[in-house]
């Protein structure tokens, strides 16, 4: 039996155990039953989640049934899949058939999709056991999970602080040992930033390598589903399981996601790493220091690290905060009280729509719908939406130039460590600044990964980010694995499974 977070003493480098892979190995070998595994994790959730609030829905009964089915397959000599018996937590904007999918919004409270997201189907085929749906900022809009209609999730390292967002529930669940694997979604950093704040690995794939069918849309040209895990290896394994072309998603690439696990052991000898000024400037001193130390680890491993300035990246945040709300304003029009979800009755259909949306959406969602509607409205389209799409091109081109000199780029994942609950809720722009290092990858459609790398002087986790060009997940994971090996071990969080 394995417990998460096991390895060398805090502060020393060492191999991290991969709880998910160990479970799968043991279940497949028959040395551990999937039922026992799921009971252990359900017990952890029941014990800990009252304080943590990572979960919106816990699936005790169905998880037990799924685990039992895995055990039957093993007993019958059938192949139960590469993730056999591994409990997985799903961000609650992923459609699960017959199971509430709320997006942490009142407007979808109680709605059960009549269909399943493609990634969830793939996880089940791989033998994973869905243990529950995790909390998020409403409709994935936010960087702290404080915008959830059901209350915030707390950071396992300090319950007075945010876990980050919008995939705060998934990141907190993995960090606290409540699930060895989780899926989140990343539109402007919503996997990577909470992973950094919670001290776990969070990865955003190349746009189009993971099907979005069944992911409740926030910003369609930016959203991607990705893994949140304890180790880089698990991230690569989970990416291989969920990735690949899907006939239900027109924006999904026609070739399967590149096989990444094999690249993990390759090391970084001779690789060229660009340390991006704009992704370190403006970060807190402790965060910047950790990034430089990570650069040192890569140099020690034989990589050539050089500083590079990509000034266009500074325009990423304003461009993102035009484009994402614009797409969101359209994607969220369908919540009108007619076909499903909340309805507030009124005398006319129009009044019913307006009253339903007023009651069903929280303030951040309303803010972004307003912003997006404004940016698309007649007279403003050229100045805002169209211009932002052109700036997007400038950023893509600038990154393209950088990648002629470098194989990967390095920087902070987010400028700060976990901030206090309530600290930024009154100042939207200060909250949006959390995304400044992450949005460029979404705008470009490039992959990026956050790896936990030590902490600040309060013991709060710091994440460092490795960025790569489209479809270069193998080299990205290659570099991430070396960073991980050289990272100071993080002290286990205060709130965690026993």
């Amino acid at each position: 039996m394995t417990t998460p977070g096991d390895s060398g003493a805090p502060g020393t480098p060492g191999d991290r155990s991969s709880p998910a892979l160990e479970i799968a190995r043991d279940v497949r070998a028959g040395s551990v039953s999937a039922r026992d595994v799921v009971e252990r994790y359900l017990g952890a959730v029941d014990a800990v989640d009252g304080e943590l609030h990572a979960f919106v829905t816990v699936l005790h009964d169905s998880a037990r049934r799924e685990a039992a089915a895995v055990d039957r397959q093993v007993a019958a000599g059938e192949d139960p899949g590469p993730l056999a018996g591994v409990p997985v937590a799903l961000k609650d904007n992923l459609c699960t058939r017959g199971v509430p999918t709320t997006c942490s919004s009142r407007i979808l409270d109680g709605w059960c999709p009549p269909y399943e997201a493609t990634v969830v189907e793939r996880l089940r085929r791989a033998g994973a056991v869905v243990i529950g749906k995790t909390n998020l900022d409403e409709f994935a809009m936010g960087s702290s999970t404080e915008n959830s209609a059901f209350g915030p999730t707390r950071n396992p390292h300090d319950p007075a602080r945010v876990p980050g967002g919008s995939s705060g529930g998934s990141a907190a669940a993995v960090a606290a040992g409540l699930a060895p694997l989780a899926l989140g979604s990343d539109t402007g950093g919503s996997i990577r930033q909470p992973a950094a704040l919670c001290g776990v690995v969070g990865m955003k794939p190349t746009y189009g390598t993971v099907s979005r069918y069944g992911l409740v849309a926030f910003a369609s040209s930016l959203d991607q589903i990705g893994p949140i895990t304890t180790t880089v290896t698990e991230s690569a394994v989970l990416f291989d399981v969920i990735g690949g072309q899907d006939p239900c998603d027109s924006t999904c690439l026609e070739r399967p996601a590149p096989r990444t696990v094999s690249a993990l052991a390759d090391g970084v000898e001779g690789l060229r790493v660009g340390l991006v000024t704009e992704l370190v400037d403006g970060a807190d001193q402790a965060v910047a220091a950790r990034v430089h130390e990570a650069a040192g680890v890569l140099e020690a491993g034989g990589a050539r690290v050089e500083e590079i300035s990509i000034p266009e990246l500074r325009h990423g945040l304003p461009a993102y905060y035009v484009l994402a709300p614009a797409e969101a304003s359209s994607n969220l029009s369908r919540y009108d009280g007619v076909r499903y979800g909340l309805r507030v009755e009124a005398g006319t259909a129009e009044a019913m729509n307006a009253a339903t949306r007023a009651a069903g959406f929280g303030p951040e969602v309303k803010r972004r719908i307003m912003l997006g509607t404004y940016a698309l409205s007649a007279g403003y389209y050229d100045a805002y939406y169209s211009q932002a799409q052109k700036v997007r091109t400038l950023i893509i081109d600038a990154l393209g130039v950088a990648y002629q000199r470098f194989d990967v780029l390095l920087g902070a994942t987010t400028p700060t460590t976990a901030f206090a609950l309530g600290a930024k809720v009154d100042d939207p722009w200060s909250m949006y600044l959390s995304d400044v290092c992450t949005v460029p990858s979404n705008l470009a459609g490039h992959p990026a990964i956050s790896i936990p790398f030590g902490s600040d002087d309060k013991g709060l986790p710091v994440g460092v980010q490795v960025l790569a060009p489209s479809l270069c997940e193998p080299v990205m994971f290659q570099v991430a694995a070396v960073v991980e090996r050289g990272a100071p071990v993080l002290a286990p969080p205060g709130i965690r499974a026993a």
């Binding site: 189009g208 035009v322 009044a351 803010r367 307003m370 912003l371 400038l394 893509i396």
Partner: protein, 117 residues
């Protein structure tokens, strides 16, 4: 295409990016377009908050984007289509089970005031 005049006399604010900010009337117009009822207080608050974000977005106007093509898709995909073959539809009972109001196998709504364009 008939009926599609852009918002003529109801253009919100003025079209110069970065100008003094969103008025309450601008916010009210946008809220009507977005079909969300907002209280007076909310309108005032959002007008201010939106103005801040718009102000940052307006910085983009200063960038030279002559000749730059907008990126609508980060992907080079083209011609993604599927064969014209039927696939199973949903069971109607399942579809209607979660509808707020149903009558005669159809979704029921209060009377519709306006016309479809």
């Amino acid at each position: 295409m008939a009926g599609e005049t852009t918002a003529g006399n109801a253009t919100p604010g003025n079209a110069t990016p970065g100008s003094a900010g969103l008025t309450r009337e601008d916010a009210a117009y946008v809220a009507r377009l977005a079909r969300i009822d907002l209280t007076d207080d909310e309108l005032g608050l959002y007008a201010v908050q939106l103005a801040t974000v718009i102000g940052h977005a307006a910085e983009l106007a200063a960038l030279d984007t002559d000749g730059v093509e907008p990126t609508a898709h980060p992907l080079p995909l083209r011609n993604v289509t599927r064969a014209d073959e039927p696939r199973p539809s949903l069971d109607r009972a399942e579809v209607l089970a979660q509808a707020p109001a149903v009558e005669d196998g159809r979704f029921r709504v209060p009377p519709i005031l306006g016309e479809a364009p």
